[in-house]
Every structure is written in structure tokens, then in C-alpha cells.
Symmetry: C2
Subunit: 395 residues, 2 copies
């Protein structure tokens, strides 16, 4: 084989992500205490339950499960989703306002595909979920960051950016945000829905961590305040059942979802039926609530341990105090460099993600994201001790 | 809910496909004899075997199966694919030259995403697979049809189009093509590989029907003649195990596949592990060959029946005589309109696809595609009798 010299599409210029890939490759090494990823803990993955469900499902409805399915989704799951969405997110949707996706990332991809021309403005919180920023880059969007604080996106700044940029889309994670762990306050949820209608901006409300609440009161989704249909709720079963199954959904305006369905038709045709059937069994069988209660109990303990250790860690200016989710976001004292900390921590077998990667506008070199869901209590104590020691000795 | 007035992306203008969607919706009605789709027969879907495999797999490797997977693919399947590809397609690839996809349609989508700017030329056989044409439209490709005959794509015309249009991509189904059922002759396979290298055109070789051969000798893939790496083989387990599982693969240049992997990362992150594990069990357990032998025996009988009936049908100028696959392509006498035939056949409960939809350049109103895999012998006899009678009475 000689190396071939292929001329790639222009959209590929904005897509690299190799720094982060290497970082995750390192943190997956055996023996490394990883606060870097966003993986569910192993205890949270219901392998025996899914084995039983998959086997029952295939013996009962196997011919339909193994045949081509509908692009819109496996009919039983489409039927059970509206009830689940009403109960969990407080939003009223009908069956034709639901499209099943191959993970919630695909929901964002389909919205970008249906809506965004190269150069179109897309608003996002800052800091924001890395994967979403990559997806926006793949459509050559003009990514416009909007300030956020510990109560979520800054409403005044959001309105200013909507007015100034006439964006096609706002991407937002309202609950236990990635990377901050913070949640959008109740009054701001209503305001986001109102601004979307006023400025005619589609909102991609990505809410995968919604049910991972360890304290405080459940909040309705932005979608619950949506009177006209500008909000599309992107849901996922990755954090409450299994990410490896790749099942998510979009809930929103039926016409917009039909257009997204046409896009899905020529990407993966439909989401695998077996995986949809497994999720449907969780919803119909009442299996989700007890499973979520169990894993939330364990995640709560891990988060508390990490928060307690952070309170004892030197040279920290601020850290978020989430009520759920998988992440805590840390601001070191000004002038300290998280990538320098990363190098010294990695040498001692601890990984995290420097926060600068999450800011579309760059900067914020003193920030870092910590994940607590994929380590046990002992690993969190040991890892935080090492981190603390590394911070103490920073130049 | 009021109707919201959303401004869609330009790429959506070329995407409708609603005529075909309605056609398939009709042909799925109970009682309709459908020669329209491309679904495997119900007997070809190994539900009990997959139930056992899924259950075993989840009990053995459930924690890894349910966790996030690698974008490149579930490691056991990536390891078993090169041997399968060598044996089935005659092409030598290494593990880093394989990327698992969510069906082979995603392989084409990723190639288009990585390579094609709006307006870039993409060559395709004519007639061509409808889903592929839709995917090309979704990237605003300039679709350039290349003539084909019963031995596949016309090599002289292909070279002329490569020279004239400097295309980014050639899309081709070399074996039991959709919609014609014809296969690319051996010498032409080598010529396509040589032209790709000469004109530096990536070839998307989509070969999902390869193993569904009922007579004649297996042919090596175009990829088997690829010395430089311009050919990407798109494989699928939809026709030999199950379309509902959505597992396919790309095999080709490692650098190109890494770029496709970056694209996949921000569409569906990775293909579901469970589904990959099930396919891997077929490969490792030697389950594929006996299963394929069994279903080929049944498909062969269905195809022969349809071919025999076609020989007795009036006013047909030509029909293809495939050695495998799922489709037969029919040219009625000049002047007869397949969409008129469609309307009268549908009234009597028989569906097929008028051939004009498969021609990017339009025309060819006297052609139709017949599928024989999703009906039994009696239905084929009855359906062909009705078709024959409808043709007899055409104006």
C-alpha cells in the first residue's frame, strides 16, 4: 500500500479532536484513576436484567425485531415514550412528535443537518459539551458562546446573542450540565422557552442526566414551557440504562421531526430494533424507577466524597456543587494552569479533563472537569489526595 | 400548538422521497403481495439463534457490552472481520483498515461527509440504489450517472465520466445490484480498481448481497484488485443475519477510515456493542455459512419461480437473469408506463417499484423492479398472474 493523497471536504478542517482522544486513551489504561470520562459506573449497568429482557423479547417478537424497522422508531417504544416524557420531563407530546435516535448525539446531528448551512450561527452555553461542539463544527456552524453561571445560561446575554446573530439553533444542557454539573434555574427555563419563540430559534434541549438527581427537587424541562413548538427535547437512555445500547429520542414539532427523519433515513435508516425493544421493556415493565433509585444512591455517595475532598484541596477559587449528574467543575486560583496540573497528575496515575477544551472561545486555563461516576470511594479518596498534592506543588 | 415556520438548511431542498415512502407504506398493508421492498424473508431471520447468542453474550461480557464502546468498533468484531473479509471478498485488510458502521448506509454517509463539498461530482451506476441517491442529495453532490448493462457498469463510459467530472467518489454495487440484480463482470472489477487509481477517485464498493449467490461462481470484490487503497468496501450483515440489528463495516485505507471515524464520533458515537457482539458470534462460531446455505436454498427457489413466470408474461422487452441477490429488473415494451401498471396492480393487491425512481437522470418509464425474497411460492405465482393480467390489459 502506498499512501493515497485524498482531497477531503472543507468541513473536515474544523474536525480534529485528537488531543482529547489521546487524553481519553491514556485515562482508559489499567490502574489509572480516571476522573476524565463520563462513563456510568460498572455497577450501574444492568447486564443480567438486559440479558433476560433481550432473550424474552427475541423469543416473543424476534421476527419483527430482526427485520427492517421504521425510521421513526420501533412502534412499541414510540407508544410508550409520550407517557415517560410527561412523567419525567413534564412535557406533553404525542406519538408523532417523537423520533427515536441512535443515542441523543444523533438527535443533535439530525437537527444540525436539517437546519444549519455553513456559517449559520448556533448558540451554546460556555463551557459546553465537547461532542456537541464537534458536531457543530462538522456542519461548519458559526459557534456563538453564551455566558453561564451556577444557575445556567445567562438570560440577558442569551437574548443579546439571539438578537445580534439570528441563530438557527440554541444547544443547551439544562440539568447537571456537562461539564459544570449545574442546572438551569426554574425561572430561566421558562425564559429560554419564551426567547426561543420570540426570536424564532430552535432549541436543542439535551437532557441526558435529568433523572440522576441526588438532592433537591426535580425541575420540568424547558420543553414543558414550550407553547409554540420551538423546543426539541433530546433524551437518552445512556445514563439510566446503558450507553452501549445507543438509544435516545427527539421530542418536538412533528413537521421538524419528519424532516429529521428524512435525514436519518439516509444515515442509518433506523435505530436497531432490539435496542429499542430493550428500552421499551424498561418503560413498560416499571423497571426504570427502581434501577435509577439504586444507582442514584451510589452516585450520591461518590459525589459527596469528591465534594468533601475538594473542600480540603488548596488553591481552588471555586467549584460547582451539583445536585446530580456526573461532573464537578473546578476553577483553580487565577494563574494556575490545568494542563500543567494534568501532566503532573497523569504521571502519578490520575486523569481529568482540562477545562479549556470546553470553552468555544478558548482561555479559562485554570479550569478542570472532574467525573466521579466511574471510580469507587477508595479511588476517589486516593485520586483526590494525589490531585491535592499535585496542586500544592504547582509552580 | 401553532405551526412554526422553520428555515431549513439548503441541503433539505433535494430531499423528499415522499412518493417512495407512500409506495412502501402501501406495500406493507396486510394482504398485499409485495414485490416492492428489499426485506429478507421471515424464514431468513434467525430469531431463536440470536436470542440465545444475545443472552450468552450479555451474561459473559455484559458490563463491556453495555458500557460506552469505541468509535472504531467492538474489539472482538474488529479482530474477526479481516479473516471474514479475506474469505468472503478476497481482499486483504488489517484490523486498522476496518471501521464498524450502523448498517452499510452509514458507511456511504461517512464517506460523503468526509469527502464531498456541495457541487462535487459523485459517479453512480444508472439505475442505482435509491437510498444511496438520497444520501448523495443530502450532501448536495452533483450526481453523475454512468451507463450500465447486464455485466455491470460500462467501463468506457466510466472512464469518460471520471476524466470529464473529476469526481470525489464512485458509488457502485458490484454484485446482484439493486435494482437490476446484475453483477459486474470479473474483468470489469479489475478495470474499475485501475481507473480509480488512475483518476484518484475513491470507490464506495457496496456489496451487501455478495453471499446471496444461488448459481455461478463467487467473484472477488473490486477491493481485491485495489493496490493503492482507493477502494472502500462497504459490508453489511443486513442480508445475511438481520437488517434490524444495523451492523455493517467499512474496509479500506486506514487514514481515510480515521477521518470517517471522526465523523462517526459526532453522529452516533459508536455502533451498539450488543449488535456487534451478535455478529461477531456468527463469525467466530462458524454460524454464518450454514445459515447462508439454508436461506440461499429458499431464495433460489423463489427467484426461479419469478423468472419462470416472467418468461410467460406478455409485452416484456427484457428482464435480467440474476445469479443471486433479491431483485429482478424488467423492461416493458417501449411506450408502456410502469406507473400506470403500478396503479392497476395496486388496486388488485400487488406492489412493486416503478423503475424510473432508480434513474438519477429520469426517464425509463417502462421499467420496474421486482423483489422475490419477501413472499412465498404461492404469493409469487398469484402476484405474477395478476401482474401479467394487468400488463395484458394496459392501454
Amino acid at each position: 500500500m502506498v499512501t493515497i493523497d485524498i482531497s477531503y471536504a472543507q468541513r473536515m478542517q474544523g474536525l480534529s479532536g485528537s488531543a482529547i482522544r489521546e487524553l481519553f486513551a491514556f485515562s482508559a489504561k489499567p490502574g489509572v484513576i480516571s476522573f476524565a470520562g463520563g462513563n456510568p459506573g460498572s455497577f450501574a449497568l444492568p447486564d443480567e436484567q438486559v440479558a433476560q429482557i433481550a432473550s424474552d423479547l427475541l423469543r416473543r417478537d424476534g421476527k419483527a425485531i430482526l427485520q427492517y424497522g421504521q425510521t421513526e422508531g420501533y412502534p412499541p417504544l414510540r407508544q410508550s415514550l409520550p407517557g415517560y416524557i410527561r412523567q419525567t420531563f413534564g412535557a406533553d407530546v404525542q406519538e408523532d412528535q417523537v423520533l427515536i435516535t441512535t443515542g441523543s448525539m444523533q438527535g443533535l446531528d439530525l437537527l444540525l443537518k436539517a437546519l444549519v448551512n455553513p456559517g449559520d450561527a448556533v448558540l451554546t452555553e460556555s463551557p459546553a459539551f465537547l461532542g456537541a461542539l464537534q458536531a457543530m463544527n462538522s456542519y461548519q456552524a458559526n459557534i456563538v458562546p453564551v455566558r453561564s453561571d451556577d444557575s445556567g445560561i445567562d438570560i440577558a446575554h442569551l437574548e443579546e446573542m439571539m438578537r445580534r446573530h439570528s441563530p438557527k439553533l440554541l444547544y443547551i444542557i439544562p440539568t447537571f450540565q456537562n461539564p459544570t454539573g449545574c442546572s438551569l434555574a426554574l425561572d430561566r427555563r421558562q425564559q429560554v422557552a419564551e426567547l426561543a419563540a420570540k426570536y424564532r430559534v430552535v432549541v436543542a434541549e439535551d437532557d441526558p442526566y435529568h433523572s440522576l438527581r441526588y438532592k433537591g427537587k426535580h425541575l420540568p424541562a424547558i420543553k414543558a414551557f414550550d407553547r409554540e413548538g420551538w423546543v426539541v427535547l433530546l433524551g437518552s437512555f445512556s445514563k439510566v440504562v446503558s450507553p452501549g445500547l445507543r438509544v435516545g429520542f427527539m421530542a418536538g414539532d412533528a413537521h421538524l421531526l419528519r424532516r429529521c427523519g428524512v435525514c436519518k433515513q439516509c444515515t442509518d435508516v433506523h435505530t436497531a430494533n432490539l435496542n429499542q425493544g430493550i428500552v421499551d421493556a424498561y418503560l413498560r415493565g416499571g423497571l426504570l424507577d427502581p434501577h435509577i433509585s439504586r444507582i442514584c444512591g451510589q452516585y450520591a455517595g461518590l459525589m459527596d466524597t469528591m465534594l468533601q475532598q475538594l473542600a480540603l484541596t488548596p488553591r481552588i477559587r471555586h467549584f460547582t456543587r451539583p445536585e446530580g449528574g456526573l461532573f464537578i467543575f473546578v476553577h483553580l486560583e487565577e494563574g494556575l494552569q490545568a494542563d500543567q496540573l494534568f501532566r503532573s497528575a497523569v504521571e502519578r496515575g490520575v486523569a481529568f479533563v482540562p477545562g479549556e477544551h470546553f470553552y468555544p472561545e478558548g482561555g479559562h486555563h485554570n479550569t478542570l472537569r472532574l467525573n466521579f461516576s466511574n471510580a469507587d470511594q477508595a479511588a476517589i479518596l486516593r485520586g483526590m489526595e494525589i490531585l491535592s498534592d499535585c496542586i500544592k506543588h504547582m509552580g
